[in-house]
């Protein structure tokens, strides 16, 4: 992906993130996280029905990389099965950690394919998906 397109995707998703704002609907599973090394904070709500991720909402304050990666991930995950989402997350995290990964399933998440070059941004890029992974693995 061209750098200009990456930047545009990231800035768009930071300034106008998908699915921001919580529902407080009890049928959603709710989880928050605090990145111990920085100041980003997310609350995430996830609705799963018959093994399908029906909806994900989030709220919180976080940096451009954390917010945009979560926003892009949410867009990618909704409507997929739990297993599909976990597989995308697994490959996305491998990419962020500079390991072998399957690029064919990541789509816009490829905007972060060079984030491993910035050590301090790696935790930002995985903050949101880690919470989603945690919810899916435990429910």
């Amino acid at each position: 992906m061209d750098s200009n397109i990456k930047r545009e995707l990231i800035l768009d998703n930071f300034n106008y993130p998908n699915n921001k704002g919580l529902t407080n609907d009890p049928s959603y599973i709710k989880k928050s996280n605090k990145n111990p090394s920085c100041i980003d904070h997310f609350d995430i709500e996830l609705k799963i029905e018959d093994g399908i991720v029906k909806d994900i909402r989030f709220d919180g304050e976080a940096c451009a990389i954390a917010t945009s990666s979560l926003s892009i991930a949410i867009h990618r995950f909704i409507g997929k099965s739990k297993e599909e989402v976990l597989n995308i997350i697994d490959n996305y995290k491998k990419m962020v950690n500079e390991e072998e990964y399957d690029s064919s399933i990541l789509e816009d998440l490829l905007a972060f394919d060079e984030i491993y070059l910035q050590e301090s941004r790696k935790t930002c890029a995985t903050l949101g998906v880690n919470i989603i992974e945690d919810i899916l693995e435990n429910n």
């Binding site: 990456k6 300034n15 100041i39 304050e61 990389i65 301090s120």
Partner: protein, 394 residues
Amino acid sequence: MHRDDFNILNTNIIYFDNGATSLKPKCVTDSINKYYSEYPMNAHRGDYNLSMLTSNLYEKSRDKVKEFINAKSSKEIVFTSGATESLNMIINGYFKHALNSNDEVILSKSEHASLILPFMELGVKIKYADLDEDYKLSLDNISQKVTNNTKVIALSHISNVIGDKRDIKSICEFAHKNNILVVVDAAQSLGHTLVDVTDMDIDFLAGSAHKFCGPMGVGILYAKEELMKNIKPVTTGGGVTSSFREDEIVYKDYPFNLEAGTRNVPGVIALADTIDYINSIGVNTIEEYVSDLRKYLITKLSKLDNLDIYNKDIDGSTIIFNVKGVFAQDTSLYLDKKNICVRSGDHCDKMLHEVTGVKNTVRVSLYFYNTIEECDKLVEALDNKNILEESLGI
């Protein structure tokens, strides 16, 4: 000023995170090296000459601190690991025993976590004094919260986020008229402005050496002698007792009863060199220089229309701001790419945002080795419409 004393300033780093910790001059690192190469002994443990030399240097440092803050006696000084430990010892070693459940403590929401949390853990009633519209804490706001049950006023001398300097002398005078004790967190003020515990009539004071050019892991606890007598050891172990049997512990006299276990001996010794160094420049000279530099920087930053500055008019050394539309951390990562070190976040103050409405900010905190040229570079870096985009590093 005095930039040659800091090896790290020979690199092209611009260090504006002095509120977190200051740089260490060569005389301080030399002192630590000298300890490890010439007399690396424990203090107050051995009878041989070298150990005596170490013990003497350790106690000389106590005398030095006494003079630095103008305490009446060296017995009023305990060495700790930092302001955090000092505050925990004051609160858990003294107030835990002196307060009952009806007693009230006055704090403000612009205090550091190390002052608020130990009081919260005590389970006493806490009242938070209001802040002025420019987020400063005044005696007026404190006095409004005083009731017959108020026993303690606890506050920082200079707050670490807003940077306002509180009128400690008037606050102590007011408190004592009302039979209230005052705990002063001097982490941001020692070595930055004059601290005179006798003139200000402070009851308890906490500080950290590393905030004024000293070593990491060395703190100061000051208490008036009649209060020091009644601080109970929170930690006990080697070095604090004169004897103990199955059914009895006999503690040494203060301050030694409060310094259990092996201390940061090189750090304590280097604190004496730190104080000599700061005195050789002069605390008043430092304060004036930093104040002028801050005025220069704030005037320049105020001209940029992409910034929200939250503490324009204060006496301390900090400027907190955000770039419009940019998350604080993105701004600090952008500045890091230009070798400018600043802090972003809530600065260990988790409640201030309830008052200011902004959770995370960028903080620039100055010290005497910062320069006008460095300030100009910061202004130049922030005078940019593409900060967010450039912060991404993509």
